[in-house]
Symmetry: C2
Subunit: 347 residues, 2 copies
């Protein structure tokens, strides 16, 4: 470090601050120091540096289901921001509930990270309590972990948009497909989207058809199975809100195999606006996923560096994207449903 300081003509303290990315060094000086350090092949030993500063230079990212589009996109957004801020990103991927339990039992981020970013995982009270005991900044992306800072959407409002679109098209009997995790539990996102579905039906004066709210494991196969259940009801709905695009796509598969025309006999709306939704011309509710990751990443940098976040709760908007899987109901099912709302069906 003394060699670098001599080469640049600054103190070793300045070199130290510059190399560790701390404030108090101008960008110009930092650049000269980094170039000198590189030419002298000076590498901070993170272990030695960590003993001095008490910081690790790492942030942990807890993410389930990385193979799903949503999670990977949010991670990409967070990674970019965190990496540019000079942090290493330690990945904790929990593929199922067993790994999730293990993470919260062992808390492998203790003394190994300066902060934790949680992507799209609804945390239970006990999990929040355990994280709290770590004394680390925790930020959510695509989820709001307790009162911690977070960048997310309003799932309830987004789901209500999807269902209102169906109501406005004239549907009176509208079902919903929900998803469960590998233990058969509805996560927070599923509960919030159910609340939006219910709110939109209630505000339209429609009854909530409880038999037409079905659950299945998350994914295409689950969505396919759930749609099979809906088709076997005494009075199937004329439209369905699926809590995620992947689930809606499974529902479309069943409808195609069953020969039910979409949207002629059944309208389907998803949620997320994944690339598959566009490809399959699926009506859905769009959200900015990469941005949720990036904003949450920025919040975590702020929390680690300054101990707090100025704007700790960012709610990004959602937009209904009408495509080819929704239309006004046709045939007897549309107006004859038991719900009998106020509005007349158009066309």
């Amino acid at each position: 470090m003394a060699d670098v300081a001599r080469a640049v003509g600054v103190s070793t303290g300045t070199v130290s601050r510059a190399l560790r990315g701390r404030p108090g060094v101008s960008e110009e000086t930092r650049g000269r120091i980094l170039r000198a350090a590189e030419s002298l092949d000076y590498v901070v030993s993170p272990a030695a540096s960590g003993l001095v500063t008490g910081r690790t230079g790492s942030v942990a990212v807890l993410v389930p289901f990385i193979s799903r589009w949503f999670h990977a996109r949010a991670l990409a957004g967070a990674h970019r921001v965190l990496r540019r801020a000079g942090f290493e990103i330690v990945l904790h991927h929990v593929e199922g509930s067993a790994e999730r339990h293990e993470f919260f039992e062992t808390l492998p981020v203790r003394r190994r990270a300066d902060g934790l970013l949680v992507i799209a995982l609804s945390l239970a009270e006990e999990e929040l309590r355990r994280l709290g005991a770590l004394g680390l900044p925790v930020v959510g992306a695509g989820t709001e972990p307790g009162d911690r800072p977070a960048a997310a959407i309003d799932d309830t409002a987004g789901a209500a948009k999807a269902v209102r679109h169906l109501v406005n098209l004239g549907h009176r009997r509208i079902g919903m497909i929900r998803s469960t995790d590998d233990e058969g539990v509805h996560q927070g996102v599923s509960r919030r989207r159910l609340a939006g579905y219910r709110a939109a039906l209630t505000e339209a004066g429609l009854e909530i058809p409880d038999d037409a709210v079905v659950s299945a494991p998350w994914g295409i196969d689950g969505g396919a199975r759930a749609m099979g259940e809906l088709l076997s009801l005494r009075t199937p709905p004329t439209a369905v809100f699926a809590e995620a695009d992947e689930v809606a796509i499974g529902a479309l598969r069943t409808l195609r195999r069953a020969g039910v025309p979409v949207p002629g006999r059944m309208s389907v709306v998803g949620f997320d606006d994944s690339p598959m939704a566009e490809l399959l011309d699926l009506t859905t509710v769009a959200q900015s996923v990469y941005e949720q990751g990036a904003i949450a990443g920025r919040m975590l940098v702020e929390a680690v560096r300054h101990g707090g976040v100025r704007e700790p709760r960012v709610r990004l908007g959602t937009t209904l994207v009408p495509r080819g899987t929704t239309a006004a109901p046709s045939g007897p099912g549309g107006s004859r449903g038991p719900a009998g709302g106020g509005r007349e069906q158009p066309g």
Copy 2:
């Protein structure tokens, strides 16, 4: 550490080995030590431990395009194995060529990781040389970085299977859609799959229709554009091999919009067998992606712990999955092509 040793009745050396996951401690003893350490709330400071052992306890994973199904799946497989072996996974996501160049310029894994896993990135000579200078074990998943250990498939053989399937159906004029990165460069996987395409045509005695080998940026839009090019040829092919499912799906979109029946007038084969391929009934070449990540992860554990890998090159098989987008050619285009192979077209 002395407290833990006293509680369990072993030496502090044994406690140290057990907590650091080193060999020479029985599973039973390790279990007792871990439980005692937990009840005494003993946490190894990684920084302090690293200064003693010279190890970091971390491995770095370099992965491009995490939002793509292939990369996320391979990462999930590697993560599971590495995590179970007690390593932290430091994620280096390179979204484009600029970030890739930056990674190899700055090599942020120096002194920060015990090894490096490279997922699905074809490394250039210079990049390999730079990694070599680090003195770290490097393992590839879905790619073979120089002579380093790797778990991958034989892309050339896989591509030849796809094209042979088209030849066997009676196609004589077979095109190919290739992909480029954001700098317009064909990566290694694209070069190998082109070699397989050429080999299959040559062994069938067919000419390689150079005008029917087109390139576009990777993805659905690129595939769509490339298919547009093929449709504007004086003699379009009757079948197309797309180097990845995502690209094939873009090609299908163009064909649907252009009103070209698939497979009636155009057969399409992809590569990878992503969930989208199954959904869209796309004929493709399947590979085991999660397994490539998991096997490469195991190799890296072996390389870090023992300084070498017993079976350093694992090649997983590929399987042709015939679905609804391929059939024998019909109409004049099928037999009138300029190639004029040996076999007659059936039907």
